[in-house]
Structures are given as structure tokens and as C-alpha cells.
Symmetry: D2
Subunit: 168 residues, 4 copies
Amino acid sequence: MVAMFTPEPLCVVATGGTLDKVYFDTLSAFSCGEPQAPPLLAAAGADHPVSVVAVCKKDSLELTDADRDAILAAIRARPERRILLTHGTDTMPVTAAFLKDKVPGKTVVLTGAMQPALMRATDAPFNIGFAAAATQLLPGGVYIAMNGRVFEAGQVRKNREAGKFETA
Amino acid sequence: MVAMFTPEPLCVVATGGTLDKVYFDTLSAFSCGEPQAPPLLAAAGADHPVSVVAVCKKDSLELTDADRDAILAAIRARPERRILLTHGTDTMPVTAAFLKDKVPGKTVVLTGAMQPALMRATDAPFNIGFAAAATQLLPGGVYIAMNGRVFEAGQVRKNREAGKFETA
Amino acid sequence: MVAMFTPEPLCVVATGGTLDKVYFDTLSAFSCGEPQAPPLLAAAGADHPVSVVAVCKKDSLELTDADRDAILAAIRARPERRILLTHGTDTMPVTAAFLKDKVPGKTVVLTGAMQPALMRATDAPFNIGFAAAATQLLPGGVYIAMNGRVFEAGQVRKNREAGKFETA
Amino acid sequence: MVAMFTPEPLCVVATGGTLDKVYFDTLSAFSCGEPQAPPLLAAAGADHPVSVVAVCKKDSLELTDADRDAILAAIRARPERRILLTHGTDTMPVTAAFLKDKVPGKTVVLTGAMQPALMRATDAPFNIGFAAAATQLLPGGVYIAMNGRVFEAGQVRKNREAGKFETA
């Protein structure tokens, strides 16, 4: 039974989104910076094997079909079975539905944040923690982990007015 | 299958620990304040039913047998099957071993923090997020969730020098 | 001599800028929110009389001549002699030069931030503290307080590449 | 007139206090760590010459006559005329009164914090900013800068219940 809890190697696949937003004073603009999930894992002392692949640094509204193909290719190319996919929230359900059934044998958990990780008040570290556990504990499949809940790909939408994910 | 992911009601049982440390200027001292797990759950928009029971507000080195009995009684008295138990790290393995086999049918996950939730750099929100997912997804039993890992009660110790939990 | 240090009433005139940037998830965009200087003053226990006038909530690159006229009118209309003017950094020197010589008898200190007050790493509270002291202690005139320095209106520019203000 | 605002070299003399409190997990205790004023100055881009002398790392209730002699000696030994003295709040008025009239020609401003600089909610960066300006702008003498105000040495006390400094 102990073996069940020896964490398998984890791959963080990062695509940008609010989670990774940084304010660049030289541009007077916010845009996606370096992936924030790895330093959050490190800050919690989660030092089992973690690799990081940054596919793109985009708002999820700007993701194209080519970007989703690149995300899929990145997940398939990795040896790890446990994939934590960080993603903007607006089209997170779209990407989850796209990946569903395309990555057999892997557990892919999408998460992100409503407020950037670098803000004083942010849901980012909670969400990365929640998703990290879900990635380790869920069986193969594609999931969204937001608002302290697990949703299955294809059965979830973002309610923008409420700032929440809900079953669909 | 969706039903599996409808979160069951969660009970946070709080006992104090570094997680809840606050600096009281009027005393010029740090001591345990209000439980920090509930506001961290709320900040992540985790608004499924969550109840809170504060058993005590102590460093875990100060916990007595009577305190552990009170923790056990609190868990048994709650209707929820999913229990997130926040606890100081120093004797977290002791309390986990004490609870093991005493709460059949319940999933009890202990977590805490190496740095207070109110510090600028803290593992608290990650740990609460990780433990919240573990509480929802693990089968009945008593576990410790720290350092991005799940440990089973009775098979874990804190390595104080390394500032990490490890299997024992 | 004590009287010298009894703080005169202070008026915060807010115009927006990076200091006040907030991330609005419903818009997936950052824009200027409520003035951040007043809560920063309150958090430091600076509870001598402080009034607040929000003239606009704009990036300083978007400020028009009409906005600058409104800022001037707001300063003139206030009974306080001590004015802390929060402002975006890009055109802060322009507004300072515009106000120079137009507000005799008043001490007007412009400040702002390179990173929003709500970010985890920000110069905002330091700058508001520095500017609050400068507003109390400087003789009548118009000044910019940034980078831990006082600059005189008309003799300062922002070096955007360096992210610093410098004498001009 | 510009010369007036070219900042003179600043010396930070650090003694500990709440400002510098750090939580050491290996000790399960808070105690004074490295001086926090220099990184706060740096974060605000205050890069004019700043030197740092750490005289001790103590709660101010633990400061002895020998410590105060060491503080005085450190101030006298420095070539800078502008001294920012970081200090615990409980006996800040005692040290200010002790230094009064002993450092002719120098401007010494004592400040500290009610909440550690490393806490999420803290008055530390505001206070260091406020005190940095006061150190530059005040004439020779010994002052306390707290709560957004300047107090003269010998005419100030801490009201512990209110968590505020007030004239005495």
C-alpha cells in the first residue's frame, strides 16, 4: 500500500494564463511570464521528480488549434504518466475536451488561477496544490481541478459572471 | 462517474500549529490565532459545504493526551466522512498514528505548514489545497499530506533538520 | 518645536496608474481600481486627518489636458496644504511640471509605483510612506518622490529602460 | 536648490525588533533574522549610497545598556550624517532619549514595525519609506518615525494597548 503513495514523476506542462501573469514595467503591461507552478511546488518542498515543459505563454483566449496540437504533442512526448497542465481559465474546458480520449494511460489535470500567482491575494498556490494531489491520486483521464473540486473533461464550463467553474 | 466528483461535505478540524501563527503586537509574541484553512478554501472559491471545528490553538509539541482524545471525539462527532485536520508539524505523525484505526469509514488527512499562512512566503495555501484534494479522493483511512506527498499514518516521520516529512 | 511635527491634515489626490492596478477576472484584464494609498496609510496606523479625492482612474499615458486641469482644480479646491498626488509613472514628470507654480502655498508630492500595490513584490507601500513624509516635511512646491529620492518638478524624467527616475 | 535633494549617503543601523522577525522552522520559533530595511530600500530602487551596520538582533525589551552604548558607538563611527536606525518598538523611545544630544551634526531617525516585514500584512515597507524620507529631510537631531508621523526624542511614548506611538 505504501507504494501507492510514492509519488510518480510529475511533468508540469505550462501554457500561460492568468496564473503566470507578470507586470512588465518597461512595457506598462501585464503578460505571461515564466511558469509559476514549479516555484510553488518547490516552495512546498515537493521535491520528488518534477519536469517542466513550457509550450507557450498565452492568454487562453488566444490559444489556436495549432497550440492545442502542440500541447497534445508535448504530453504524448513525455515519459511521465502524471501531467499537471497549467492553462488560462477562459478556454480551459475547451482544451480539456480536446485532450479527452487522446492521451490513454495518462492522468492529465488542468488548473490555473483567477488571480496571478504574483498577486498578494491569489488562488494560485491552493490550486496548484490541489491539482498536484489530484494528478497523483486520480486514475487515467483528463480533468479540470478548480475551486477545490475535480471536474471531468467534457462536463464542465466556466461561469464568468460568478468567477467559478461548474458542471455542464 | 460524475457523482464521484461531486465533493462530499468537508469538515476542517483545526488544532493550531505553525499554519495558524499570528503575531500579536500587544504581547510582542507569536501564537496560534484563528484557523487559516477556512479562509484559504474560500479564497480558492471552494464553496461546497465546509464546516469548521477548532479543537484547540496549540503548538503541536504542547498537545496532551487529553487534546488527542478531544480531536478524536470531534472527528467522531461530526457527520462528515471527509476530515481535513490542521495540526502543527512536530507531532503530526504522533497524532496520525493515534487516530489510525479509530475512525473507520472516515478519510482523515492531516496537514499543516512550515511557515505561517500569514507570512509572505508560506507553504500553507499549497498544503491546504493539496490536502483538500487528498481528503476528497483518498479512501477511508488516516493520512498525512505534506511536501506534495501523501503518507500513511504510522509510516511517516518529520525530518526536522531537512524540514521535510519522509517515510519511516 | 513639537508643533512642527504635529502632522497637518493630508489630502490624497488619486489619478490611477500602476499603483492602483487590479486584475479583473470578469474582464481578464488589469485596470485601475480603487486608490491604494489610503489603505496603505491606514495599515501603517497613520490616522491623522486624511481625505481622499479620486480625480480619475487612468494609466498616465492616457491622461489628457482636461484631466490635468481637473487635477489642478481638485488641488486648488481642497483646504489642505499637504497634497499627496498618486499618479502613473510614465507622465508623472509632465504633470509635475504642469502643476509647478500653479499651487502657491501648497506642498504637492507626486508618487506612484513600478509594480501594483496588490502584487506580492511591490514598491508601493515604501513609496507611499516616503511620499507621506516628504509631503509633511517639504516646504511649499511641487515634487516627485520616487526611488527613495525627492526630485523637483521640471527637473526630473523617467528612464524607462532603467525603471528609474533621474534628474533632468 | 537641486543639490538639496541629492540624497546624502545613508547608513542603516539595525538592531533587530519585530521588523526583522523570521520564523525558523528548525527551532519552531520566531527570532530576529537579517536586517529587512536594506532589501526594502533596494526593492524601491533606492540605490544611492546605502551602508548597513547590524549592531545586534534583539527584541528591544532585551536591549541592555551595553547594547545602547554599542548603538551610539556605531553611529559615531560612521562617516554618514544620515542614520536610519531600525529598532524594536517597545523601547524605541528609551533608545531615542538615550541618543538625544549625543550625536551632534547627525540626523538619526528610529523606526521599526508592528508586524514583521515578512508578514503578508505589515507596516514595515511603509515605515522604512517614511523614515528614509525623514532621514533625508530633517535637520540634525534624534527622531522617531512611526504611524506616519515624526516624533522628537524625549517627547514620545508607545501606547501598547492602542498599538500606536503618541506624544508624551
